[in-house]
């Protein structure tokens, strides 16, 4: 049983999983043993924690990318369930279709009405296909736009949850104007007269992520990534081999702490030891606290000043010599 490879486990998580399996096994050995099981279990627990700590203290950007895409990592609907109350999902772009790769709707954050928009991935094969692996088509971005404009109309703050490998590269998506849909959102979000808080919860995949990522605050969960191109995509173009993805992940500077250093994000929301999938409630609690603080602050800002500040933020992106 201990040697069984857990498919929901990343390779660098394997030693931790093995140790934990041993602990489980010991617990079931039960009462009849002569040795003091409890002592042994707590010794192993301590060892497991220590091992996790040591592995997680020196994660490479590539390992963090894998954590960001972990099959057990919480998705938007999980956080919506844990953080908000009374979620009313709203569907469709009113023009072509409803895109299940983006979810959105009305909900309350500690009683305060808000609009939530997030990418949504699927958990099992069927749902993965239904959600198109979290890769939106133009109708997804247009649904998001419709909900954002509704939020502005009713003066509701917006929270966006970013978790996508990227906008879907498909024939239909191109026919229906994937580029225009993304560009339109960037244009409208820049001037939308309501507070917008954007949180990268997993994969921030390029333009497909940015299309719901323009706002007054940009936060990242500790083990999420945000990148102009996937490490694999970058490696296959610049290194001519997707195998070099770990090198690309390093070079692109896609982790939350690196982006904080570069001044491109406002805050990193801590995840529990071992990552968000080890304790979703804890991450949700951290995220909720952060959202409340940010929102309190943004709501106090008068509208013209808020828009001016957002504009200033966008204006200042970039490094060059002058």
């Amino acid at each position: 049983m201990t040697s069984q490879v857990n498919l929901n486990c990343l390779d660098f998580e394997q030693p931790i999983a093995e140790l934990e399996a041993k602990i489980e096994e010991l617990r079931y050995v039960g009462d009849d043993a002569h040795v003091n099981i409890n002592e042994e279990v707590s010794r192993l627990r301590h060892k497991s924690e220590e091992l996790t700590r040591s592995i997680f203290s020196s994660l490479t950007p590539w390992q963090i990318s894998q954590l960001a895409r972990h099959p057990q990592r919480p998705y938007s609907l999980d956080y919506i369930d844990w953080i908000f109350t009374g979620f009313q999902e709203l569907h469709g772009d009113r023009a072509f279709a409803d895109d299940p790769a983006i979810v959105g709707g009305l909900a309350r954050l500690e009683g305060r009405p808000v609009v939530i928009i997030g990418h949504q991935k699927g958990r099992d094969t069927k749902e993965k296909l239904h959600r198109n692996f979290g890769m939106p088509r133009p109708e997804g971005y247009r649904k998001a736009l419709r909900l954002m404009q509704m939020a502005e109309r009713f003066r509701l703050p917006i929270v966006t949850l970013i978790d996508t490998p990227g906008a879907y590269p498909g024939v239909g998506a191109e026919e229906r104007g994937q580029s225009e849909a993304i560009a339109r959102n960037l244009l409208v979000m820049a001037e939308l007269r309501t507070p917008i808080i954007c949180v990268v919860i997993g994969e921030g995949g390029s333009g497909g992520a940015l299309a719901i990522g323009v706002g007054d605050a940009l936060l990242m969960l500790q083990y999420s990534i945000y990148s102009v191109i996937s490490p694999e995509g970058c490696a296959s173009i610049l290194w001519k081999s997707a195998e070099k993805a770990p090198d690309a992940a390093e070079a692109l500077g896609i982790t939350s702490d690196r982006l904080k250093q570069l001044g491109l994000i406002d805050d990193v929301i801590p995840e529990p030891l071992g990552g968000a999938h080890r304790d979703g409630y804890q991450v949700a609690a951290n995220l909720k606290k952060s959202l409340m603080e940010r929102l309190d602050e943004l709501i106090k800002t008068a509208m013209p000043a808020l828009i001016e500040k957002r504009h200033e933020r966008l204006r200042n992106y970039g490094r060059f010599s002058d």
């Binding site: 906008a167 879907y168 590269p169 498909g170 024939v171 998506a173 191109e174 026919e175 229906r176 104007g177 994937q178 580029s179 225009e180 993304i182 560009a183 339109r184 960037l186 244009l187 409208v188 820049a190 001037e191 390029s206 333009g207 940015l210 299309a211 990522g213 323009v214 945000y226 990148s227 102009v228 191109i229 970058c234 173009i237 610049l238 290194w239 001519k240 070099k244 090198d247 690309a248 070079a251 692109l252 500077g253 896609i254 982006l259 570069l262 491109l264 504009h311 966008l314 204006r315 992106y317 970039g318 490094r319 060059f320 010599s321 002058d322």
Partner: protein, 297 residues
């Protein structure tokens, strides 16, 4: 001279057989119809094949030079230069790639912005230099574009952009992705001030440039047969695992699907854009109306 060559009669023997009499670069083969074209004539024709009207790529500076009136030009944001914030290195250093591109193109980055006039109408016009790292958008391109937009707002003059780009510049990481948001935000302001923006999409306009500034024109114009889209055709082919239809992501496809307003031949571009700008800004027509012909009566 070898004994064999000495045996040959003089009219067969050619002096220095390996040397060509035609200097390099005097003739160009049209990728569209295969016709061999005289370089000077092709240049005069704005790099459009006189036989089949195939539009070849045009350098940024040449583009602006042929689009704007010859007088009263001033470059915008020329002082900006790229920096390598991430110390990016793949098989080559980004720094070296920049130096190489600068040497090859005589530009310091992939966008040129010039304030001037087109048929007497004051404008700011920007053009992407595709030969500079595939016209990719990094911090300098974004900043120069925004300065061009701001110049438009200061002077209340329209903006005309000629896009030719593979997308965002990977070597600048997230900085380059955020240029999409930055340029779009600037265009949002321009729009609020009711200043026209004409976006011309030329071959190729893809990825982050297509999914931001290039699609946001009040009027979007494409050159014939240009490749325009979000995802590259190869990426799409790998995802959907089928061969793509003929003409997919070409200008004509975009016109059919409603993404662009019109397709214009490069040789008409100047007059047509001047006319559009004059209409949008309530100015008299910059072009004298064509005379009525007998058939129209």
């Amino acid at each position: 001279m070898s004994w064999f060559q000495k045996l040959l009669p003089t009219r067969i023997r050619t002096e220095g057989g390996s040397k060509r009499n035609v200097p390099e670069g005097l003739w160009t083969k049209c990728p569209g119809c295969g016709a061999v074209l005289y370089r000077v004539e092709l240049e005069r024709n704005l790099e459009v094949c006189p036989k089949c009207s195939h539009h070849m790529r045009l350098d940024a500076r040449r583009r602006l030079d042929t689009f704007l009136d010859p007088d009263q030009r001033e470059e915008v944001g020329a002082e900006l230069a790229p920096v390598d914030t991430l110390k990016f290195r793949d098989s080559k250093k980004y720094k070296d790639r920049l130096a190489q591109a600068q040497k090859a193109t005589a530009e310091n980055d992939a966008l040129v912005a010039v304030r001037g006039q087109v048929r007497g109408i004051a404008v700011v016009s920007v053009a992407f230099e595709f030969r500079f790292l595939g016209g990719s958008m990094g911090s300098v391109v974004g900043e120069r574009f925004v300065r061009a937009v701001e110049t438009c707002m200061d002077r209340s003059v329209p903006l005309v952009s000629f896009a030719a780009s593979g997308g965002a510049r990977m070597q600048e990481g997230l900085f380059s992705l955020l240029q999409m948001a930055k340029t779009s935000a600037a265009l949002a302001r321009l729009r609020e001030q009711r200043i026209p923006f004409v976006s011309v999409l030329t071959d190729p306009t893809m990825g982050g440039v297509s999914a931001s500034l290039a699609m946001l024109g009040d009027v979007n114009i494409a050159e014939p047969q240009a490749l325009i889209g979000f995802a590259g055709p190869r990426v799409i082919e790998q995802t959907v695992r089928e061969t793509l239809p003929q003409g997919f992501q070409r200008s004509e496809f975009l016109l059919e699907h409603g993404a662009v307003d019109m397709i214009l031949d490069r040789r008409e571009m100047r007059d047509r854009i001047a006319s559009i700008l004059a209409l949008l800004t309530h100015q008299p027509s910059p072009i004298s109306p064509p005379l009525l012909t007998a058939e129209q009566d």
